[in-house]
Symmetry: C2
């Protein structure tokens, strides 16, 4: 842990935690100078911070006024809170990787009858072939499977809404928010953590939910189902309406999120999307053209723009990871069973076109 001098500054293109957004260090300095961590979470100053962060997120992700925005410690916590608050007995899960699987397991941990429709890692779903029994209450979708780089197209989510208007739809948008241009009227809740595309220190989850979620949680409460204590939906929403949180929260995290969302809004969501698309296209194309690599997600319509995963046709990924690190770029290993055979690249807003072009050059020249 001692400070190393004269070593090159590395850039972490790992899919979370990832490189900090390039403005974070400055925002942190200002926060310390303004003594943000010392202020009371019941003060007007904190309420202003909370309101600012919510406002900037609404602009950035085009979140309608009828959706509440509340904060937790992580997206992992929201897996749990959504199951506790939105499911009396049955949830339905689309599983195609480690993280969607963990969401399913969370429901099982709470003794719910949780059904999973499962496809192999790297594959998307054929939505039209899936039947969801009416007894289900919550459909749990993972928009971007961070373990394998599979994205669920928004049209598939909208199609599910069309077919099952009475079921609640929850969208795990970890490692892709704020990229998707989502029609919030087609879902009920969406959540993410801040250490991915937002480039912030880990320790904060963002939960966006509509009145149907509030009503459902209140229904459970009335039926005497234990839906939690300080972080139930009614408790979180009630405090959020005062721009506060039930407990002493990660004040610094909420402050930094507001600042980075403001920075992203200055670039505009549209520009962010265009740049993300350009950088993703470059990486996918370069990977496809080098026979040493194989884009892991075969079907282009399921390829994530923000987490790009490739199989490497060598004994392991070690040599290539080393080449990248020598050039100052840390990219991710594979997840789980793919640890040694995959590379995973975080294509997040903090990385410039130049950085991605440099990485593409390394991919192109690797033999």
């Amino acid at each position: 842990m001692r400070q190393k001098n004269k070593t090159m500054k590395l850039q972490y293109l790992t899919p979370g935690p990832s490189e900090l957004y390039f403005t974070v260090a400055d925002h942190l300095q200002v926060a310390i100078r303004q003594q943000i961590p010392a202020i009371s979470h019941r003060s007007k100053t904190f309420e202003q911070i909370f309101a600012h962060t919510v406002e900037q997120l609404r602009i950035l992700m085009n979140i309608p006024a009828n959706f509440h925005i509340v904060f937790t410690a992580s997206a992992t916590e929201i897996w749990e809170r959504s199951i506790q608050n939105l499911v009396i007995s049955e949830s339905f899960h689309f599983v195609n990787g480690s993280f969607s699987k963990k969401y399913h397991e969370t429901a099982l941990d709470y003794a719910k009858k949780a059904t999973a429709i499962e496809v192999p890692e790297g594959e998307g779903f054929e939505i039209t072939k899936i039947e969801i029994p009416d007894s289900n209450e919550l459909i749990c979708l993972t928009l971007n499977e961070t373990s394998t780089g599979v994205m669920m197209p928004l049209e598939q989510i909208y199609a599910l809404r069309e077919r099952y208007p009475d079921l609640l739809i929850a969208v795990d948008a970890v490692s892709i928010a704020p990229y998707p241009e989502l029609d919030f009227s087609k879902i009920d809740t969406l959540f993410f953590s801040v250490q991915k595309c937002f480039g912030l220190p880990a320790g904060l989850g963002v939960w966006i939910l509509n009145e149907r979620c509030v009503a459902k949680a209140e229904k459970l409460q009335k039926q005497g189902v234990a839906i939690g204590s300080y972080h139930t939906i009614p408790s979180l929403v009630k405090m959020a309406q005062k721009n506060q949180t039930p407990e002493t929260p990660n004040v610094l995290g909420i402050y930094l999120l507001g600042k980075v969302a403001e920075d992203l809004n200055r670039r505009t969501a549209k520009t962010l999307r265009q740049e993300t698309n350009y950088k993703a296209a470059l990486l996918y194309q370069t990977l496809a053209q080098n026979p040493v690599f194989e884009v892991f997600v075969q079907n282009p319509k399921f390829r994530s723009p923000t987490v790009i995963v490739a199989n490497i046709k060598k004994e392991s990924n070690a040599e290539f990871l080393q080449i990248c690190e020598k050039e100052g770029l840390v990219i991710g290993e594979g997840y789980g069973n793919f640890k040694k055979n995959h590379i995973r690249i975080a294509n997040f807003p903090t990385f410039s076109k130049e950085t991605i072009e440099k990485l593409a050059g390394l991919i192109e020249n690797y033999r």
Copy 2:
């Protein structure tokens, strides 16, 4: 939220969030330079950070090897997790203020038969007169009631252990840890948050627990009781044994805690206690000698050394708070119903004797 120039730097002697420990700004700079927030929570570097923090806490608080140390998002979360994991049906709560009451309410939220023995705010308990039925599983104690400045003497905790050796004892040490020189063999679990005496940004809870707690949680699990998902005791402990956490945690918070614990160890726990005692004695004495003030906790044996609360015999505390702020010292208002009539002073390690002497001077001269 705009940066104010030329304003005096205030010191927040508020009982949490509170003034950052005076080394935190430097540690943050080093953390950013070393890219701590970007590193993977599954990396060797993170494991070293985790191990370092645990080691420094063990030294500082003299925590025996048979106690596990795990991390959550807040002490509020640990109220919930301890109830979920350690209570099948009955818990027993000592309530003498807002925070001990919330712990009790947390148990009720989980539909436990939670009994509260309640005394008025500002008072301690007469332990010998309290009978705890054998059907209880967990005794929940609030060592330092932050709302009113009442401390429970350690001897009372030890006496409970003597009388009820089979019941688990949980100690909420928020706003007092690491001050108490506790015999851990007389309790089963203790927890706190870091934005009080440790002077760190909020967003991290520390949970210390022994094998009896692990066994109890496993027993619940075997009986099919839902004890949570990622933050169950078995899950937290299993990962902690690898110096990891189940989810992506507040990496930066864990890093900073280790650094500040190391700083406190350099001063030594003994010195910290002596200085805290000196500063507390000075404040209590000065308050007692000025007829405008009245120490809220009548019985000296129940007076907290770290959160010092006084009633102010004026229409409100506004004038005195203003006088203090003009001198650069922000002290706390009262809690809840006492908001306008109490002052609350955080006597935490970051505040020098000189700062407390200055505050004592203001107390002395106020008429």
